[in-house]
Amino acid sequence: MSATRSGGSVLRGVATVVAFTLIVVPIAMVVVAAFSPKDFFQFPPPGFSLRWFVEFFRLDNMRGAFALSVELALASATIATMLGTLAALFLARRGGTVAALLQSLFLAPLVFPTIILGVALLLLYKTIGMPVLPGLLLAHCVVGLPYGFRTVLASAQALDPALEEAGESLGAGPLRTFFLVTLPLIWPGVLSGWLFAFIVSFGELNTALFLTGPGVTTLPIEIFSYLQFQGSQLVIAAASTVQIALIVMLVAVIERVVGIARITRAR
């Protein structure tokens, strides 16, 4: 190996250590801080306590925001994945300009600046008098739609059409074929799409920023306004750790059910 080559690999190693440290440390810090027994964060931690978690669940705002975030993520992920599956089944075997346009439309919320979507929806809702909760739910559905659509589309395109044809030629109607043949085969795509849509909704900021209202606040927005108006207190660390813990659980589920290989390629 030449000198430049090993120099290159040292550089790569150093860059990797620095990058992983910068990415992981702020998150790890939050989790460590959440278990602090003191009023302010100290490093190394002076002890271990669950007082900030008790405080988190004692505060009505925080508890309510957490519950709403979970409900919203469950509902919006389910709707987004159902609609995404319909769109994916429709587009899986179609080519041409219209199909390509539709596909871009369903994927567009992935790259479209969500802050603009937030303002646009708020303005529309104000004009038509949409209540806060359904408005927020629909926004999360739009943001989650590409995730449900994309993973199911990949599964549906990998599906052998002969299997569906076999189902139909054996006398099964379209619905029966779907539930007995198609759905079991695309299930991993549907499930990972749902989990992604859930995760995205659970951490969503840019549309919720505009669309939450008094008494209807999601956990990320509650954390944000608490940080802005009451400063960084350790109950925020506990709230953040609750957020992280739920994501860890979901990632573990994805890993068990669909496998790591599938997730790392899904984004």
Binding site: R12, I23, F43, A108, I223, L227, Q243, I247, I260
Partner: protein, 283 residues
């Protein structure tokens, strides 16, 4: 499947995408073309005044310039740090590569407000960096690290870095190693091989990583607000401020300036890097 009923499959997702994505954005554009009104959401008269105000005002132009500057620095750092990391990850054996990618992917699933809070806890006056430096005797008084443009750059860069690394690493891992071997067999040194073979072949990954980092920087309101404070505002902060001040047409016009920046950058990037020309490009 029969063509006549499959169109019913399309109707619900299409309705959602049209009514709650396309329609509101078109409506926002329509509002941006109207005068402000004190009693209604927007005035009756059609006008280009909002755009003229934004593009003719040195305050707004300064913010646009600062936004582009901050985005350029974040992008540059993500490329310079992200590429070697992606290379390192791509060369790992498959199982360890999966694990590395998972460690990179996990932070992207955690809400950005949590990750921004991590940086607040590190950088604030009683934060970890200041107390550690004081305990080590390096500083006497705490440094004002928070509420600076640098804090925004550092935090956003690390928040978005995984997108860049994952995009490039996936392209590099899918790359056929025989191209590099062929170049070396033909006498090219490692540097020449990298510049003329590896780098051009990884443009699809660079393009998608760059695009994600740039677009997400533009709308990162929460991170910018928590780390930049009131003095380091970017374009997205002005949109939010105008919304909370009920200046709907002005907010709408600013939103479309932001969208125009996003589209111009995307077009420029695709024209310059032409990621599509790489044959058999990996994901």
């Amino acid at each position: 499947m029969k063509a006549k009923w499959t169109w019913f499959l399309l109707a619900p997702p299409l309705a959602l995408a049209l009514v709650f994505f396309v329609v509101p954005v078109v409506y926002l554009f329509w509002v941006s073309l109207h005068a402000a009104s004190s009693s209604e959401l927007y005035g009756a008269a059609l006008t280009l005044r909002n755009y003229a105000d934004v593009l003719g005002d040195s305050f707004y132009l300064g913010i646009v310039r600062r936004t582009l500057g901050v985005a350029a620095v974040i992008l540059g750092l993500c490329l310079v740090v992200g590429y070697p990391v992606a290379y390192f990850v791509a060369l790992l054996p498959p199982r360890r590569r999966m694990l590395a990618l998972l460690v990179l992917l996990f932070p992207l699933m955690v809400s950005n407000v949590v990750r921004a809070y991590g940086w607040v806890a590190l950088l604030e006056r009683r934060g970890v960096v200041n107390t550690t430096l004081r305990d080590l005797g390096i500083i006497d008084a705490p440094l004002d690290l928070l509420y600076t443009t640098s804090a925004v750059v550092v935090a956003l860069m690390t928040i978005l870095l995984p997108y860049m690394v994952i995009s490039i690493a996936n392209t590099l891992a899918a790359l056929d190693r025989r191209y590099e071997e062929a170049a070396q067999a033909l006498g090219a040194g490692p540097v020449r091989t990298f510049l003329h073979v590896t780098l051009p072949l990884s443009t699809p990954g660079i393009a998608s990583g760059t695009l994600l980092v740039f677009l997400l920087t533009l709308s990162a309101y929460v991170t910018i607000t928590l780390l930049g404070g009131p003095r380091s505002k970017l374009l997205v902060s002005l949109i939010y401020d105008n919304v909370t001040a009920f200046q709907w047409p002005r907010a709408a016009a600013l939103a479309f300036v932001l969208l125009a920046l996003a589209l111009a950058f995307t077009g420029l990037l695709l024209a310059l890097l032409r990621p599509g020309r790489v044959q058999g490009a990996g994901r």
